[in-house]
Symmetry: none
């Protein structure tokens, strides 16, 4: 399953509204992640690096704009849209001062919400979050990191390139010649084919030390494929 789409976090304690927002965003091609409170959101932000946040202000335990201010204090720069019933002038001002990018008051028009999301993403220079997922692997291309079940796994440059190539081509057997050209390029003239085995092996050990997940399936006499 390939995914290069844009992910949006929504924090809203009223379930129907949360569902409504998620429905419209998904319909427009966004991936969404809903939360009923700010709990666990910070962890999620770190792990997933979503592209945008929509947040209510009247949340249980935590006031939405204070939460955003806190995030900003720690350098989190995610685009934020407040979606809230708090519509007094002072409320709106506070929302922007605390780091919001846009402020929509309830009741809201779903179509306008989507357009404002798109406008904000455009202006933030976000076209796609460039994350590729495969089974429980999450490859963050610009960040050059691999996350497996919320654990960061360190990869070398070569290993990253190799894994990227495989995840870009799932369910396809990549033969040794292809891998040599793709990963090692031209200078692989006098190139020991065992090098591929060794490199795959090192990668295997890093992302699946126990060997139980069988990510790389050897295809005899040909190459490997991702399983």
């Amino acid at each position: 399953m390939k995914n290069t789409s844009i992910e949006i976090v929504i924090i809203e304690d009223e379930e129907d509204i949360l569902e409504l927002v998620e429905y419209h965003l998904q319909k427009s091609g966004f991936e969404t992640m809903g939360f009923l409170s700010t709990q666990n959101v910070e962890q999620f932000l770190e792990e997933e690096n979503p592209s945008l946040m929509i947040i209510d202000r009247n949340l249980p335990e935590c006031e939405g704009s204070e939460f955003v201010a806190e995030l900003r204090k720690y350098g989190c720069n995610i685009p934020v849209i407040f979606l809230t019933a708090k519509d007094r002038d002072e409320d709106i001002e506070e929302g922007f001062i605390r780091g919001g990018d846009d402020y929509i008051t309830k009741p809201f028009k779903p179509k306008e919400l989507v357009l404002r999301v798109q406008a904000l993403l455009r202006r933030s220079g976000i076209t796609s979050n460039e994350k590729i997922k495969y089974r429980d692997l999450i490859l963050d291309i610009p960040n050059r990191t691999l996350t497996i079940e919320n654990n960061l796994v360190e990869l070398t440059n070569l290993e990253f390139k190799l894994l990227h190539t495989f995840i870009k081509n799932p369910n396809i057997t990549l033969d040794r010649e292809f891998l040599r050209d793709e990963i090692w390029g031209e200078n692989g003239a006098n190139f020991n084919d065992k090098t591929i085995n060794v490199t795959i092996n090192r990668l295997k050990k890093k992302i699946d030390p126990t060997g139980e997940k069988e990510y790389f399936i050897p295809v005899w006499g040909v190459g490997y494929k991702l399983g």
Copy 2:
């Protein structure tokens, strides 16, 4: 708070409103340039490169959103806020679709307008009146100063540019080529890649002498990223 050098174009055919908008923006430190129609605006954009545009839709001879769509077609990427009485759902949608970044309906609250202008400028990377934070670093762009835990840290011009570039691109590994282009520019033709190491190192030592905070994480064979 000074916003010298940030210039905002306002296109509005009702003179009182134009004056009102200009008054509030100037009070917040912006330079303004008002137009009663779209006439001569294009020429002004080319010559002055203003940072933001506020535009009415019901203008004599020309519909504001069509004007913006036209600008966009020719590659003009200036942040645009519509300020208009056209408040039907379809009007608002049209405003965003034609390239607007924000949409404010009349009657409007001047304070909110200013805040929306500031938010949009911030998000557009026009930060000269802003501070950028990352972890415990506070970068004051107009003053070109760095504060760490309330201590002023002296940076050279080059170091400031480098740190700014990294903070503008969090969660992204910046490769050596990008850094060379971005920081050193074109004249880096015969350019020793070790220069990057050395410069990063000097910066590291200034902002984290003990090396315990690990701001700059080397990515082997690629570049660095902010940690």
